[in-house]
Each structure stands twice: as structure tokens, then as C-alpha cells.
């Protein structure tokens, strides 16, 4: 049972405060949805938690260690993985090889890493695409591959940055069921998503960022009715849809 505890994280770029004093926590077997308008600081927050940015203030504690300011590879090796908003994969390598790179973290032997990679591809339903060069995949496939690469590192916390953007309703169905499966496997998930149909039903809690600051946190139902959130971000049409 591990928990990621974020306290008062702040990140500034020059005069702009991209993340302003954000605190939250997420633990195993939980999905935390992270929403907010464009430029709210969601991606920057991810980058602060995974070492791509060094927070200017605050702490990020995971399994008793403050990992704020660690390098991305060290953060990955203690079990925190992320995907990118703009899909980032190893274009010139095959799907299997992409996943193998992730697998090598826990399985240094070539054969073991390969087995692990094959297993992960099965899990995300991409076995058939294994020998294809990543550059030739469709965008949804690339997004799924990115998730697979993260999973291959056996993460305890997984951060997904708009992995469902551009998917068809059926594909969203598949994706959400995969996320539920991962939650059952004991992962802590932080999911940034614009597709409300996807995120509302699966999230245990939702946190809302606006202009870098956390403006609300609560169950999907609470968030959907939160005045401040509605005015800041959701707008009327979403409110209607979400009031199930």
C-alpha cells in the first residue's frame, strides 16, 4: 500500500506561476481525475511530479521519500510513470521494442524483458501490432502504446495525460475498462482528461485546477455540482450531461 503525497507544490516560469501551491494525495487502488481548462497547469504539475520540472517549492513524498527535484529516471525506477499530452514514443523502433525499453527497468535480461513486454502488450490488446514500427501506428494506437510502455516499468503510480483524446466511443469503453482493471491491480492512477464521459464515471475523486491553483476536489458528483468549477471550466452543457 503506497501513497503519493503532494504538498504545496509551486512552479514558476519567469513571471508566470504555472502551478500554484497545489496539494493532494493519491493511493493504491484509486483513480484521481485531474481536470481544468487549457493552460490550467495540469501538464506542468505532471512534469513536477515526474522530474521533468523541478518544483520551486513544496514536497512530493512517495513511500517516505521526498522525490521533488529527482531526475525522471530515478522517479520512474521507484515506481512512478507518466504519459505525455503530445504523444511521445520511440518512432523508429517497433511496438515490441518500445515496450521492451520500459521492461528493461525491472528485467535487465533480454529474454525476461521480452517476455514482460509481450505480456504487457497482451494486456493492452496490442499483441498483433508488436512487429510494426511505432511511427506507422494510428494516433489512438500510439496513445495505447505509450500506456503500455509505462506499464512495462511496473509502476505503482501511473499518470496519464489525455490518453483518451481522439478515441471513438467504443475505444473509450475499452480504455476505461482497462483503467478499472489497473485500479484493481493496485495501481494509483492520476488521469488528465478532457473527455468527461470517460473520466467522470471511473474517477474515485476529481481534482480541478484553474490558472495553476487547485479550486476544488471531491467525488465526481460533488465536482459536477460545484459552482466554482462550473463557472471556471465546465459550462452549462457539461453540467446537464453529468447530472445523471
Amino acid at each position: 500500500m503506497s501513497e503519493l503525497v503532494v504538498k504545496n507544490v509551486t512552479k514558476r516560469f519567469g513571471g508566470l506561476t504555472a502551478v500554484n501551491d497545489v496539494s493532494f494525495s493519491v493511493k493504491s487502488g484509486e483513480i484521481l481525475g485531474l481536470i481544468g481548462p487549457n493552460g490550467a497547469g495540469k501538464t506542468t504539475l505532471f512534469s513536477c511530479l515526474t522530474g521533468f520540472h523541478r518544483p520551486d517549492a513544496g514536497s512530493v513524498v512517495f513511500e517516505g521519500r521526498d522525490i521533488a527535484g529527482w531526475s525522471p529516471n530515478n522517479i520512474c525506477s521507484i515506481g512512478i510513470a507518466r504519459t505525455f499530452q503530445v504523444v511521445q514514443i520511440l518512432q523508429g523502433m517497433t511496438v515490441l521494442e518500445n515496450v521492451q525499453v520500459g521492461a528493461f527497468l525491472r528485467y535487465p535480461g533480454a529474454a525476461a524483458a521480452r517476455d514482460k513486454a509481450i505480456k504487457v502488450l497482451e494486456k493492452v490488446g496490442m499483441s498483433k501490432r508488436a512487429p510494426v514500427k511505432a511511427v506507422n501506428l494510428t494516433l489512438p494506437e500510439k496513445k495505447r502504446l505509450e500506456v503500455a510502455m509505462c506499464l512495462a516499468t511496473d509502476p505503482k503510480v501511473l499518470m496519464l495525460d489525455e490518453s483518451m483524446a481522439g478515441l471513438t466511443p467504443t475505444e473509450i469503453q475499452e480504455a476505461t475498462s482497462m483503467l478499472r482493471q489497473l485500479r484493481e491491480d493496485g495501481l494509483a492512477l492520476i488521469v488528465v482528461e478532457h473527455v468527461m464521459e470517460a473520466i467522470m464515471p471511473i474517477s474515485d475523486r476529481i481534482m480541478v485546477l484553474d490558472s495553476g491553483a487547485k479550486i476544488a476536489e471531491g467525488t465526481p458528483r460533488e465536482i459536477a455540482s460545484n459552482e466554482r468549477v462550473i463557472s471556471a471550466y465546465l459550462g452549462d452543457k457539461y453540467v446537464k450531461r453529468c447530472k445523471v
Partner: protein, 329 residues
């Protein structure tokens, strides 16, 4: 897996040919070309580790090459150390040097790195030119000893140098073959493809970049020793010559980079062309030989940017298609 086996058999056959070759081509100039082909194949492979696999394009390999040449020469001339020990020392010292230099360099990306390596090559050259202890611009002469394997000198025939270079090549190819399939090879490629993704997946990019630079430099340095022993003379102007750096990169890219066979093919084709055109036309002093060389490179880049291996792959695909047709028919 069957493919792998066939690949290894092919390599073994080629190795067999390579072993027999100097027994057939006995003329000194032919053997000179053979030595150069082997030497540059190794240099191309070393470049390949760093640039082809790990994505750090270097146009300053001459820095490592020259340092290696100087290490063994200094040991031999100043301390009477056997060149074979110098050979190993050259690899180690060059790798150590590359690690130190690589630390700041690994921050540079893409063409900034490439130009940084050009700068490095020029700087090291100037250092050696102005270092009186190693003879400055005058360089150092290696005393001629009795030609023998032990002395790392061969006078009557060049086959000794050839087989040493061939040995290096076999070693490097086997190493790359294993590396390609191991964690290190995957990590190198991941860094080449996308540094952010790689670090996000737990790859310590600084460590692996330094590893790639050090291994590449070490091998290149050892090649430097071979050339120093080959011409029994080291001088900054030649050992750190920018042309060496360019030729190494050209060979690897010409053959196809990021690929175990590419640099070998590149060297096998490009070195004889360069040497033979000079032998045939060079005495006119007209520059025609180098014009041909230049055209060759331009044509290759224009029509087959993936190098000779690109052609090979296409031909392979065509062959496969034809066979499938035959099977269908």
C-alpha cells in the same frame, strides 16, 4: 530466429573471405587498401555505437583517434612500453578522456553536439601542437624495430596490420551484435529516438550517453594506435585531421548507420574508391579523383539516404515479393 542464424552464417562466410583475402591480394598497395578498409570499418562501427545507435552524431572522432595514437606512442617512445600494452592503454585512456569530456557534452543535442565535436577535434589538435613534451607540431617518430607480432610492426608485408584490424573488427561486431540485443542497445536507441521518453521510462540518459561515448572513443583510440604503428609516426596535423572525422562519419552513413553491417559496407566500397581513384588519376594533380568521390557521396545522399543498407533492404523486399509471386504461381 532462423533469420538470426542465417545472418550469423553470412557473417562467418564473409569473415572467411576476409581472412583469405590478403593471401590473394598480395601487392603492397592492395594490402594497404585492405588495411584501410578494415581500420575504417572498425572506426565506422565505433562511430555507429555513438551516433547510429545512441544518436550523438560526432564529427570529431579524430580527437579520440589521435589521443589513442599518442598514448601508445608516448608509452613506447618515452617509457619503452610494448605497443600491445600501449594498444590497451590507448583504449582505456581515450575512454576515460571521453567520459570526462562527455559529461558537459552530453547536455548538447543534435547539431549543437555535432559542431561541439568538431570544436573538440580542433581544440585537442591545438593542445598537442603546443605541447613540447610530445614533440609539439613536430610529432614523434616511432623507432623501427624488427617486424614481428610482438613488436606490433610489420615491414615485409602488411598482413600483420590487416589481421590486427580484422581482429578488432570481429571483436567490435560481436560486441555490437550482443549489445543490440541487450538492455544497453535498447537504451541507446531509446535515447536516440527520444530522450524524454527514455528518461521517463527509467533510462539514466547521462550514464548511457557517457557509456556510448566512452565505448566509441575507446575503440577509436585503439584504432589510432594501429595507424601510429602502421606509419611509425605521429604528428598532430595528421592524427587529429578533421578529414579523418569526416571520413569516419561518411563511411558509416554511406553504408547505413544504426546498423551492424552498414559501416563495414561503407568502408568496403568507399575506401577502395577513394584510394584507387587517387592511384589512377591523382598524379595529374587535377583533383578529378576527389571530384568523383564527392559526386558519389552526393548521389548516395540524394537517391538512397539510408545508405547502402537502404538499397539492400529494398532489394530484399523486392526479392521477397518475387518469391511470394512464384509461390503463388
Amino acid at each position: 530466429m532462423a533469420n538470426n542464424k542465417r545472418f550469423i552464417y553470412t557473417l562467418l562466410i564473409v569473415l572467411g573471405i576476409a581472412i583469405v583475402l590478403p593471401l590473394v591480394l598480395k601487392a603492397r598497395f592492395q594490402q594497404h587498401i585492405l588495411v584501410l578498409v578494415m581500420l575504417y570499418a572498425v572506426l565506422g562501427e565505433a562511430w555507429n555505437i555513438m551516433a547510429g545507435y545512441a544518436g550523438m552524431v560526432s564529427i570529431g572522432q579524430a580527437a579520440f583517434f589521435g589521443i589513442g595514437a599518442y598514448v601508445s606512442t608516448i608509452l613506447f617512445v618515452k617509457f619503452q612500453v610494448n605497443p600491445w600494452i600501449g594498444f590497451i592503454a590507448a583504449g582505456l585512456v581515450t575512454a576515460a578522456f571521453a567520459t570526462v569530456i562527455g559529461l558537459p557534452f552530453s547536455r548538447l543535442r543534435g547539431r549543437y553536439f555535432a559542431i561541439g565535436t568538431i570544436a573538440l577535434g580542433q581544440m585537442i589538435k591545438v593542445v598537442f601542437e603546443n605541447w613540447p613534451w610530445v614533440g609539439g607540431a613536430t610529432g614523434m617518430i616511432i623507432d623501427m624495430k624488427k617486424g614481428s607480432f610482438w613488436n606490433f610492426q610489420f615491414h615485409a608485408s602488411k598482413t600483420g596490420y590487416y589481421y590486427i584490424a580484422l581482429g578488432m573488427l570481429v571483436f567490435v561486431v560481436v560486441y555490437i551484435y550482443i549489445m543490440e540485443r541487450s538492455k544497453m542497445g535498447f537504451y541507446f536507441k531509446a535515447i536516440r529516438e527520444n530522450e524524454d521518453v527514455a528518461t521517463g521510462l527509467g533510462v539514466n540518459k547521462t550514464k548511457y550517453k557517457l557509456l556510448a561515448i566512452a565505448i566509441s572513443a575507446g575503440i577509436t583510440g585503439m584504432c589510432g594506435t594501429i595507424l601510429a604503428q602502421y606509419q611509425l609516426y605521429v604528428e598532430p596535423a595528421y592524427m587529429f585531421d578533421h578529414t579523418i572525422s569526416v571520413t569516419i562519419a561518411l563511411i558509416a552513413v554511406f553504408g547505413g548507420s544504426g546498423n551492424i553491417i552498414g559501416p563495414i559496407l561503407g568502408s568496403v566500397i568507399l575506401m577502395p574508391i577513394s584510394e584507387l581513384t587517387r592511384a589512377w588519376m591523382g598524379s595529374s594533380g587535377s583533383g578529378i579523383d576527389l571530384m568523383i568521390y564527392g559526386v558519389f557521396i552526393v548521389l548516395m545522399c540524394v537517391f538512397e539516404p539510408d545508405g547502402l543498407m537502404g538499397i539492400a533492404r529494398k532489394a530484399g523486399r523486392r526479392l521477397e515479393a518475387r518469391r511470394e509471386k512464384e509461390v503463388a504461381a
